[in-house]
């Protein structure tokens, strides 16, 4: 457990250093993910412990969004004014993005 956690933090740290040091547009944790992926390919798979910890953390992924979501309380005045149109815009644009992305990938694969 502790080794796996250390591994994840270590790759995030390298990712942050590279992202900031080289001024990359890709955020540190994503750089860390890509680095770890590269190492896994080179190594031929994750150690059992890392795999178990990663799946454990990911099974509770939604929890990690709660603290940021509670920030809604700071914006109640904005939401009272613009909440309805804002919600409509979020729903409509998410639907458009989903459909355009899904169909692009789908059609390009069928086209082959």
């Amino acid at each position: 457990m502790i080794d796996a956690l250390l591994g994840l933090l270590f790759f995030q740290l390298i990712g942050e250093v590279l992202s900031r040091g080289l001024n990359l547009p890709i955020p540190g944790p994503v750089v860390g993910m890509l680095l770890l992926f590269t190492v896994l390919r080179w190594r031929g798979g994750p150690p059992a412990q890392l795999s178990a910890t990663a799946h454990g953390v990911l099974s509770h992924l939604p929890l990690l969004f709660v603290p940021a979501g509670v920030g809604v309380m700071v914006h109640l005045p904005v939401l009272a004014r613009e909440g309805g149109p804002l919600l409509a815009a979020i729903i409509a644009s998410t639907v458009v993005t989903l459909i355009v992305t899904g169909l692009t990938v789908h059609w390009l694969r069928r086209g082959k």
Binding site: L5, L8, L9, F11, Q12, G15, L24, I26, P27, P29, V30, G32, M33, L36, L40, R41, G45, P46, A54, H55, V57, L58, L61, P62, L63, L64, F65, V66, P67, A68, G69, V70, G71, V72, M73, V74, H75, V78, E82, P85, L86, L87, A89, I90, I91, A92, S93, T94, V96, T97, L98, V100, T101, G102, L103, T104, V105, H106, L108, R109
Partner: protein, 240 residues
Amino acid sequence: MDERIFSIWVYLAQTPLLWLTATIAIYRVMVEISRRLGSPPLLNPVLLAIITIVTILMATDTPYATYFDGAQFVHFLLGPATVALAIPLYESERALRRIFWPALAGLLIGSATGIAAAVLIGRLAGLSNVTLRSLAPKSITTPIAMGIAEQLGGLPSLTAVIVIVTGMVGALFGWELLGLMGVRDDSERGFALGLASHGLGTARSLQFSSEAGALAGLAMGLNGAMTSLLAPFLARWLGL
């Protein structure tokens, strides 16, 4: 007695312990409630937990900053969790190879669509420019979206809320919507869901298959990068 309880409250309200524990406990209870009711999409545990915590904070006059002192330990785990997505990604490498080039095109088109659709529809709905700037990076994961909003001159903390709602919308019916449009392949669905609604879309995709979840996680990461590249140009081009 009352005074004693009050002094305990004063102490607890100022340590990270109380709100950290409350965040995890309330989320845990909501997962259980939602599961017992057959996991109806509208009773999303994240949504229920947020509503409950906001209600408690407002009833006890606790400022968000005090809450976040404790909850930040949960928030921090978003970073290691993103790194952890390398594991399902590795396990689904074959699926990734199969859709590599179409996915790359989908990334470029989907990312631009996400930003442009948000700004244009938002403008049509009559939103102010500050709100539009906070809305533009809505498809991508919270920490990156907040950074972009700041760069564009929006309100990062409003962006955080918009991002969560976007994630919930995608998780609510994205998978089913893609199926209705004829997109039935797990990896294609996962990719679109991760691109359009980041970590919550990824969490939802993981419920269907580890392959869908892995591609969702990949799409989430790539779109975070692509949106940081595109947003400044698109925002200027759209007159923000």
